[in-house]
Amino acid sequence: MSNAAIGEGIGQPVRRKEDFRFITGNGHYTDDIARPRQTWAYFLRSPHAHAKIRGIDTKSAETAPGVVAIFTGKHVADDGLGGLICGWTVSSKDGTPMKVGPHPILAVDTVRYVGDHVAMVVAETLAEARSAAEMIDVDYETLPAAVALAACQSKDAPQVHPEAPRNTCFEWELGNKSETEAAFAKADRIVKLDLTNNRLIPNAMEPRAALGEYDKGTGTYTLHTTSQNPHVARLVLSAFVGVAPEHKLRVIAPDVGGGFGSKIFIYAEETACVWAAAKVGRPIKWTADRSEAFLSDAHGRDHLSHAELALDKNGKFLALRVKTVANLGAYLSTFSASVPTYLYGTLLSGQYDIPAIYVEVDGVYTHTAPVDAYRGAGRPEATYLVERIVETAARETGIDPAEIRRRNFIRSFPHQTPVIMAYDAGDYEASLDAAMKAADHKGFPARKAEAEKRGKLRGLGFSSYIEACGLAPSAAVGSLGAGVGLWESAEVRVNPTGNVEVLTGSHSHGQGHETTFAQLVASRLGIPMEQVEIVHGDTDKVQFGMGTYGSRSGAVGMSAIVKALDKIETKAKKIAAHLMEAAVEDIVFENGTFTVQGTDKTMPWAQLALSAYTAHGFPSAEIEPGLKEGAFYDPTNFTFPAGCHICEVEIDPDTGVTRIINFVAVDDFGTIINPMIVEGQVHGGIAQGIGQALLEHGVYDPESGQLITGSYMDYCMPRADDLPSFNLGFTKTVCPSNPLGMKGCGEAGAIASPPAIINAITDALGIRDIEMPATPARVWAAIQSRPRAAAE
């Protein structure tokens, strides 16, 4: 029987294999692991946004009960350890490389944000470590801090790093300036908009954690950690930080409870735990509490932008120019330089045929936590800008928002944008039409009128988004400054009994790979899913892999599996041909059975697998025993998921509360392996997009640099009752650049939804802009300051 017949085929909503262990408390997270003689680490953090360290006195703390060791930046430096790195080099307009300040694992003489790591206390218990940390006397000379992004490039602003004058890490540009200027010069209309993309704090359910161990006998280090990409962590810890040679360091990322980007990066705490384990000769455990997560996880977004769109008299876009100031925080995190540049500027064409685009981005240091990739990473910022200014253009020209989009959609593929990307396939009008139908766009005026009778304000907002994911061809990212290649690896091991282990470099921390990857393999081999085990997250098991981020596990990770399965099938057919005494060309493999074409000779999968290992009578020159193949897959292009989200809101003008009445998302993800999991990804993405648009905001005090939103008392995470029931739909154009035709769905919801929501709110209120998050207080204030006519 085929896998499709038993409900496990590609395209079927198979229940997630991994969920049973998660919901019954049988998952294995880093913090669940306990080792004999394990110690606990506590990190003493800077209470100041900017200060010189005149001295650190650890004497009395060292004698505190239970203390095993105390480490400061001096110990780290004395041991010859390097600092943390940024793996992507961005250059400025003038060709100079970005200006990078040192990023020490423990502060040496300066602290640069509230939460910066000052000392590590290792003790018998966490409580003892924490109590001892309180006894460390740090002599700080506090200094003024550069916090408010808009003011940090002034020459009077406090300096974060002496290496970067005016706190400017890079002044990057992309596109064609002169063509853009020329297009603006002949434009009939220019639409201008200033936008803020609010700072977000990731808040994965499981906080970061580490367990560092050192085996004195073999000289090997083991780090269990909450990583989205354990091999990259091992590479950085070996080659750049110098903790241990790569072959003497094992990094294991077991079950990981969400990442959203924040667990891509190599952080100080995890590094310190594995390094210090050898110093103290005992395992060291550290698990962030939620307050530490707020302070020290890399934050997301945080842009200030000015955008201008040039149009002709028919509403056709002629050119777009953008100036963005992007907050990098106090140090460059692992991929931070790429996020506001190559992951942002390259998407500014949106779904539109815009002949000329020019974007300038200044990357700016501030005395705040590092800012790096967070679900969408650069693409939400680009989409927000494009879809907000397109909507504004529609309102200013009086052209219907759907119509202005239609007039400018890209309709032939491949399409080369002025900002690097070559879109491969898409049908933007199809998703717009489907979304409008699902949103009952026609019925909106009647609903608005009915709401008005009840004293409520209704608005409708569009977001026709495109994003680039499946990161990406190694050659392409290499030419743009990436220090790594972005391929993926897979190994398929067929056991003698016919069941299969698949080793993948993709890491699952909520994505459901154990299900979708198994669906793919089981369907291909014609075996039940339960006979397929997906192995990931351990550098001793999987040879190498680039990990999970940028919605790449399907398009890149599964493609690598397909490539390995191709090799398995080739070899298996060779074995089948030998055993059934036929020509290889005559062997057909279908639903788990090898058949000699045109005969009744067949051989089931399990029998073939066993024969591969008994290898009796194999012509050894032609067929090696065993059945195991590996592959590395490097895609030929990014993939380009796209679609249309439409949001309908109702605002209570008395309180400023915005209620989402209907949220429609029609996405084109190409081939879908498991629609239930894909819908779950879209739900989660939209939830985070609603969080950004209405609720979430990472706020520092502009003077002191203290994190005001350092707990859930002030940082507003979306809850179930903040969210509507989502109305999802799919259109399909197959991605031509990978064997399965997949595009990637992990981030689309977070990328597409914020502008749809803000467009709906500004539509309801009849205003040009409202800053995210559009909290009730802000909406109410906007209503109070509306021109009288608009209010009536």
Binding site: A127, R130, S131, S291, D654, T655, G656, L695, H697, V699, I708, T709, Y712, M713, D714, Y715, C716, M717, T775, P776, A777, W780, A781
Partner: protein, 265 residues
């Protein structure tokens, strides 16, 4: 958490005795504020005296024209109590809206009012319903009990035993939650009863719960939403933060008062 001595007395008298002789004691009831505070090392009491299990404080009964609620009654118990639902449905609804289910099944009414968090719900009910607060030493009128942010009339060693709520004729509580914490950003409790008309506001004031005399006067003349719609509360003295300006809170007081009167019928 820092280290502390822990005691779980069996009677109120025993609790009082422990309280009297400890250095810097704290009473622990439901622990919904105290435990997180201890975990964050923001408090360092010498002794925790756990009165959470005292049977003599855990009761709800209706007698005459009032409902008596023991200080140890949990929010969920108050919300479900047939006596409270029958005689004071607004109070039951308020209890049902405190925190989340976990908080409601641990937190107690006595703990809430003794803590007097400026954004807590119960202080608004006590003030608006002319509640009588019985302690181990005396009876305190609600009007005299709440003294400002986290400040009450309770003296050292004094334990809240019971809160008596006279039955209202009409009452309702409307809360506008802080979007992040879901504590009251503005909560308005309106009532009409033997005490006349009362309007109490929690969440908004820098000094905690307070009454709005202008609204009470307006409602005394005419019990209707329109009567309070025109009463503006001054923004001075109200909280202002990330979540809203003082002007916004002042505006919300009027909106919530109007809605509370409408809900009270």
């Amino acid at each position: 958490m820092y280290q502390f001595n822990y005691a779980r007395p069996k009677t109120l008298a025993e609790a009082e005795a422990l309280l009297a002789k400890a250095d810097d004691p704290k009473l622990l009831a439901g622990g919904q504020t105290l435990i997180p505070t201890l975990k964050q090392r923001l408090a360092m009491p010498s002794d925790l005296i756990d009165i959470g299990g005292l049977k003599e404080l855990d009761f709800i009964r209706a007698e005459g024209d009032a409902v008596m609620i023991g200080a140890g009654a949990k929010h969920a118990t108050v919300a479900q109590s047939p006596d409270v639902k029958k005689h004071n449905p607004a109070l039951a609804a308020l209890a049902e809206g405190i925190g989340d289910p976990a908080v409601r099944h641990m937190g107690t009414i006595g703990g809430s009012i003794a803590n007097n968090d400026p954004a807590a719900d119960y202080p608004a009910a006590c003030l608006a319903l002319d509640a009588k607060i019985h302690t181990s030493k005396r009876l305190i009128e609600a009007d005299q009990f709440f003294k400002g942010m986290f400040e009450t009339a309770l003296e050292d060693g004094e334990i809240v035993k019971e809160i008596t709520f006279p039955h209202p004729e009409k009452a309702a509580y409307m809360k506008f939650p802080n979007p992040a914490s879901r504590y009251a950003m503005v909560g308005v409790f309106v009532s009409k009863g033997p005490w006349g008309v009362r309007v109490a506001v929690t969440g908004a004031g820098q000094n905690g719960v307070f009454r709005v005399k202008e609204m009470e006067d307006a409602l005394t003349k005419s019990w209707s939403p329109d009567a309070v719609a025109g009463v503006k509360v001054p923004a001075k003295g109200l909280n202002a933060d990330l979540h809203g300006t003082a002007e916004y809170r002042a505006h919300l007081i009027t909106v919530m008062a109007k809605r509370a009167v409408a809900a009270a019928g």
